[in-house]
């Protein structure tokens, strides 16, 4: 089971359909069940019960999650794989002491892989949909896997399976989510 963490400005917000539901559909299409929780209600036990977690994105104006980094401290002790998308990547960065800065990208952007990683195997260069006003400057705890001309686009923690991507893979790059859940969760087979 994959835990989908909703980072939007409040539980059951108008943004959830835009940023959580498309990820849920991709996970479901892989035959893998998911549970959707708002960040304000996630506990360490919820993470332990899951095979992995995906921290979903938010609207461009929505940085409310950044005011509640205390709600994400479970990430520091997390033994489960995590994929942070856009706001999710920012949360990972904030919890792990990376710095962030202003960087607005909206629309399709060229992305280049700069380090090897199974999640990005065979994807040396691709275009991806961006919707962010901040970017991450990773600390030494992370490897940079991919970049655009403007900022870091994908990171991986050096000792645990925690990934962050700044682009939105649910748009034209579903393979990121598919590869992540296939690697870490077991599909339910019918019959």
């Amino acid at each position: 089971m994959i835990l989908l963490v909703d980072l939007c400005y409040r539980k059951d917000s108008l943004s959830a359909d835009e940023f959580v539901k498309p990820i849920a559909q991709i996970v479901r299409s892989e035959g893998i069940p998911s549970v959707h929780l708002h960040f304000s209600e996630v506990t360490a036990q919820d993470i332990e019960r899951a095979d992995g977690a995906i921290l979903c994105g938010t609207a461009l104006m929505d940085n409310e999650f950044a005011r509640h980094t205390d709600r994400f401290l479970w990430l520091r002790d997390c033994r489960r794989p995590v994929l942070g998308i856009c706001a999710g990547m920012l949360v990972i960065a904030l919890v792990y002491g990376c710095s962030t800065g202003r960087c607005r990208e909206i629309g399709m952007t060229d992305i280049r892989r700069v380090a090897g990683d199974p999640l990005f195997a065979g994807k040396d260069a691709f275009q991806a949909y961006e919707l962010h006003s901040l970017a991450v400057r990773p600390s030494d705890a992370f490897d940079v896997i991919a970049v655009s001309s403007r900022c870091v686009q994908a990171i991986r923690h050096r000792s645990v399976s925690i990934y962050g991507v700044m682009f939105h893979p649910e748009v034209r790059n579903e393979w990121v989510v598919r590869r992540f859940v296939r690697a870490h969760a077991t599909p339910i087979r019918s019959g």
Partner: protein
């Protein structure tokens, strides 16, 4: 949060409006009427009837015209949104965009430049489930234009009900069109919606069709009690 809905008169903008109403406060509809039938952003058949739909919905309409030239129409969108902010104090925009990165990118940039929220509640929705929800929720939607093979003239003015949806699914499977018409294969017009306090009745309409391109033009319509 006070929101304005970017509104074409078709099903997606009105379903997005209905969704937004469940979570936030929708204070106006915003329409950019393009005089260019090739407009990528705004042209839809019968957009002139937006005022009737706004009346049926009981919402104020902010309407501006654009000549429909590719980049100039974006500045007309900015003008419309600014007007909506002045008149109704909107803090964000709602759109019915489902798949179009072109539209989403432009509207997201406009909202960002104006310091407004942007909501796309239908973004990458499951198209089959969505179309079934549109019918089940009580939207009365007709096909107001067809712009691709294999749609013939009989599709013009057809109401999207279960039977029509089955026919659309068969066409989508065989010809690779989007089930929602998001790729511009067909356009729709909404006569009634669950949140309308009144409904629209068509009194006179004409069909213009040639070579898999056609429009169901509503010449005369009125709002009546439900």
């Amino acid at each position: 949060m006070k929101l304005g809905v970017l509104f074409s008169g078709g099903k997606d903008s009105l379903v997005a409006c209905y969704t937004a109403m469940q979570k936030e406060e929708v204070v106006c509809l915003i329409t950019v009427v393009s005089r260019n039938p090739e407009s990528y952003m705004f042209h839809t058949p019968n957009v002139d009837l937006a005022a009737l739909q706004a009346e049926a919905a009981g919402l104020p309409l902010v309407q501006v015209e654009t000549a429909g030239e590719k980049e100039a129409e974006l500045s007309d969108l900015v003008r419309a949104i600014r007007l909506a902010r002045e008149r109704h104090g909107i803090e964000g925009i709602v759109t019915g965009t489902i798949l179009s990165v072109y539209q989403a990118t432009r509207i997201q940039r406009v909202c960002s430049d104006l310091g407004l929220w942007c909501f796309n509640p239908l973004w990458h929705t499951d198209q089959e489930a969505y179309m079934e929800e549109v019918i089940a929720a009580g939207f009365l939607v007709l096909i107001a234009g067809v712009f691709s093979y294999p749609f013939d003239e009989s599709w013009l003015g057809r109401v999207i009900d279960e039977e029509t949806l089955q026919d659309l699914k068969a066409i989508a499977d065989r010809y690779g069109i989007t089930l929602t018409g998001e790729g511009g294969e067909f356009e729709t017009f909404v006569l009634d919606a669950p949140f309308f306090s009144k409904r629209i009745v068509i009194e006179r309409a004409t069909r213009a069709y040639r070579n898999y391109n056609g429009v169901f033009r509503i010449e005369q319509a009125r709002v009546v009690a439900k």
